[in-house]
């Protein structure tokens, strides 16, 4: 009978130790990540780590509350000897975290109850919770639910808006037009649409007379390729009234004048 219980205890302790070790490892890796990769770590991987730890805590709780697990509460650990000397074996066991088994550390490590301060606080909260009226509690719950559902509404509305916006942007919103790009590039690069059609000589006419008159030339004799092509272009493409204004403005005001 006793032997069976001992065996059970041993196997339970083994599985608990294993779970605790797992937990310890994942906490260590999380700490390592936070300390060393805090510049590159992103939220998803951080939350993954967190979820791993929380899952391991759940398994540990399950193991502890399992039927086959002996009631550990009924077992006591007694410190037989305290010593201020450094204990090499202990240090090795605890990965150099605990080097002495002395009176100041022992109560913390063998604690089975909460610290008195924390225990007091817990007690206070528990009495407060017990003393609460049923109606009051219902009211508070209702208020909380209201607040939470309000927040939920806001979040889901924002999400809806965001999703519809992103989907519309992906599908319909057109910010540029290929035809316009080609038109503009051809115009700037080759003068497409900016020059008059080529005349029979295969030479192109300038678009306007006024803008290209150089300083000091406006009143003088027309230079080669200046006035003659202009008048030619105008007489070909514009009404006679256009000539008049053109000549006038060319003579009177030209943008290159200082």
């Amino acid at each position: 009978m006793q032997q069976r219980e001992e065996k059970q205890l041993e196997s339970a302790l083994d599985s608990i130790i294993q779970r605790v070790n797992d937990l310890k490892q994942s906490i260590a890796s999380m700490i390592f990540k936070i300390e060393n990769e805090y510049e590159t770590i992103n939220w998803p991987s951080f939350l993954d780590n967190y979820a791993l730890i929380s899952g391991q805590l759940t398994t540990l709780t399950k193991v502890l509350s399992h039927d086959k697990c002996p009631v550990l509460r009924n077992l006591t650990v007694l410190p037989l000897m305290l010593s201020p000397e450094r204990d090499e074996q202990l240090a090795q066991l605890t990965e150099h975290r605990v080097t002495t088994f002395a009176h100041d550390l022992c109560p913390d490590y063998l604690r089975t109850k909460l610290e008195p301060v924390a225990e007091n606080k817990m007690l206070q909260l528990e009495t407060k919770a017990l003393g609460l009226q049923y109606d009051n509690a219902q009211k508070q719950i209702a208020t909380y639910q209201k607040v939470i559902s309000h927040v939920w509404d806001i979040v889901s509305k924002a999400r809806e808006e965001w999703e519809s916006e992103s989907s519309s942007r992906g599908n319909t919103q057109q910010n540029s037009s290929v035809a316009d790009t080609h038109l503009l590039v051809a115009a700037v690069g080759m003068g497409k649409g900016l020059k008059m059609g080529p005349n029979p000589n295969g030479q192109t006419n300038p678009t306007s007379g006024g803008m290209m008159v150089t300083p000091g030339r406006a009143g003088g004799p027309p230079g080669p390729g200046q006035m003659p092509p202009t008048t030619q272009a105008m007489s070909m493409n514009k009404a006679p009234a256009g000539i008049k204004t053109n000549i006038k403005s060319a003579a009177q005001m030209h943008p290159y004048g200082r």
Binding site: Q174, S176, K192, L194, S208, G210, M211, P215, G223, S249
Partner: protein, 224 residues
Amino acid sequence: MSLPGNAMDSLSAALKCNIIPNQEYLLQGSVLDQYVEVLLHRLRGLCDNVDSGPESFHDHEICFSLRIPNTAASTPMPMSIFSLRVRRALDVSDTPYQLRYIGQQELGDKNRPTVVRSSIDMACSSTILEFLTELGCRIEFEYIARGYMFRKGRMKITVSKIFKMGGNKPESVEPISQSYLVELSVLAPSGQDAIGEDMRIFAEQLRPLVQLEKIDYKRLGNIM
């Protein structure tokens, strides 16, 4: 008399050493008028000149061409056309004119992220127009570009509206399309192809607002 020779020597030495930024790496695209504010906002965030805000410009550009008869019988074209561009600021009165030569664009293969073309520009006085006319250059076309300029490292980004000259008054200009022309360019000495990669990455950040691409002028000639 030895000075011009020296100048030529140092120029050719500089050319040999590849320190003259005579290659333009270029990507082009456009954005519709109603989204230009969004683009400007994004560029303000991405580019270097954040504090001063975007630099605006209002320029007039004239493209001159010079036809040189080809004497060599082997060439297929009877004339070779050589074009030069003159640009002047309309909004600032005391800036020099800019004379610019742009060479044939090289598209390269798929792996090359940008168009590359040789480009030489220099400042000059307003008499350049007269000078070019006397040389026998003719005005090919002209336009007005008005917009904003941004800088990001060596990269230059311009967002500009292109206007056609209407008549001869500077006010009576009309936009040629409902979009703004967007250009991303870098002037660098030849052989610095790494900058193309930077430009590709930057262009990626402007998507899908603007599709900055290598645009083949020869294909455009067929389309339009």
